[in-house]
Subunit: 301 residues, 2 copies
């Protein structure tokens, strides 16, 4: 662990990754949650995804939600896409920042988008062109960067191939994602050590799930390895609703606690994040796995 | 983070720290849990505490439990004590390893044992004499090493004073404990960097709770800072039973997962630990916060 960064950017993914496997909630409830998250001071939010409404009914209102985003100042909103068509829909809906997700493992890629990893990688240049022609930014997110639920451990070279294709195509940002919540700090540090020399100055983020308890430890390892952009969701929204208590994304408020008490500055207010987690819990109608939601902050001194 | 140790010793504290704030369970249920934990391959277990039965009714059967320990081969059993009298009772009951807990913060010390931290520290030599005269080993555990629920952050010098008194008195082991689950990786690394030069070759352990989600990250930071002895409980037993889902000790199986996938050897079998966590959940009659209990192991490769 070398020097830690002075500041880490948190992107809140509650509205997309947090809600995508939940029973669909009304747009009004999403806007209430969005307002609560916006009140935390966060600068970036993943608002929705422009994907198949039949596959992800919880995000079928992507265009309607996008039409409301102009009401929230000072936040950069992004939307996830899985194809050139999705990129076009996102931009038509007014998004200025899109995330194109490419699975490094073929098993997950075929299950998720019906294409191999190489086929999905080959579409990066077209998506970059669609975005840049409209003045939008593109991030490529490498999913199943450590493990795939079908194929097991992902060979690092598969991640590096996507990273190289993305930087060659001129993407604006990169991220590596522990899609199924299996990685550990050592594996995080090892992969980042391989990826960083290949990113050619492109900002690198990381995305963790707390499914096996190691999400925050992995996030801290990423920060220690030089990553200063992390995804999180209020309450840890994003766990499987059919396994009560199972952790989803790392909880924004738990991440803020860990970073703050490690001397790292973040834009997110911890009490506002806890309040937003309560709104999220109300919106989905079941308990969320966040630790701070139960324990609260420590006595400061 | 310098080189990681090749091996980490895990001490399972399910029977003591895990059960102490639960509604008392019968001795037969404790022995069933003990057998399940013993089957994990763990080499050390904190079996009970010799403290006031009125203050800790869940452990009032300490002597009865101690009388059964000879049935379990190959495991070093310890018991926690909070006074010279407790040390005498533990040794009379047959324990060969005792832990004397001293709070670094006066607020917690007075609340816990009715004495100041300095008064509790002054009793270390007497407890070492009691133990060593009987051929037993003594560990001094520094409680509230980072924060106190009454006094806030603990000045590191208070921890160092106890460590120095303990090494001067000839203790066999030392540990620092995050009693209320508030510390973070950076604070862990910082305190260990101060403590290690003072321990004079005495083995140093660490004890974390996952109350604010950072328990595993803190444990990994301790390992990275040179600590190769960690406490944990199956299922993460030890949370407050009145706050369902609130995390207690770091879960043995989650810790094993994190260490194994960081290339560190442990004696504990992960599937046996998950099985023991199920026994623990049955014994206490409520859900436990362990992640692996829900998610299981990853696909290995």
């Amino acid at each position: 662990m070398t020097g830690l960064p002075a500041h880490v950017d948190i992107r809140d993914v509650s509205l997309r990754d947090g809600l995508q496997i939940e029973t669909p909630i009304p747009l009004s409830a999403k806007l209430e949650l969005l307002a609560a998250v916006a009140a935390t001071g966060v600068r970036e939010m993943e608002a929705t995804a422009f994907v198949s409404p039949s596959k992800v009914p919880a995000l079928a209102d992507a265009a309607e939600l996008a039409a409301e985003l102009h009401n929230f100042d000072g936040i950069e909103f992004s939307a996830l896409v899985a194809s050139p068509n999705g990129a076009k829909r996102a931009i038509a809906a007014g998004l200025r920042s899109i995330e194109y997700v490419v699975s490094a493992a073929d098993g997950h890629s075929r299950s998720n988008v019906g294409r191999s990893s190489a086929e999905a990688t080959a579409q990066i240049p077209e998506i970059v062109t669609i975005a840049h022609d409209s003045g939008a930014a593109v991030e490529v997110i490498v999913a199943t960067a450590w493990d795939c639920p079908f194929d097991g451990p992902t060979p690092p070279q598969r991640v590096l191939d996507i990273v190289t294709a993305a930087t060659d195509a001129g993407v604006d940002r990169l991220a590596i994602a522990d899609t199924i919540g299996t990685t550990t700090p050592r594996r995080v540090a090892d992969l980042i050590a391989l990826v960083r020399p290949r990113i050619d100055g492109v900002p690198l983020g990381a995305h963790f799930h707390n499914t096996r308890g190691a999400g925050l430890a992995s996030a801290y390892a990423a920060v220690g390895a030089g990553v200063a952009r992390l995804d999180a969701s209020v309450g840890g929204l994003g766990g499987c609703p059919f396994a009560p208590g199972a952790s989803g994304n790392i909880a924004t408020e738990d991440l803020v606690y860990l970073l703050r008490d490690s001397g790292i500055h973040v834009d997110v207010d911890i009490q506002a994040a806890i309040a937003a987690a309560r709104v999220a819990q109300q919106a989905v109608g079941h308990d969320l796995p966040s630790s701070l939601l139960r324990a609260g902050d420590r006595i400061l001194g």
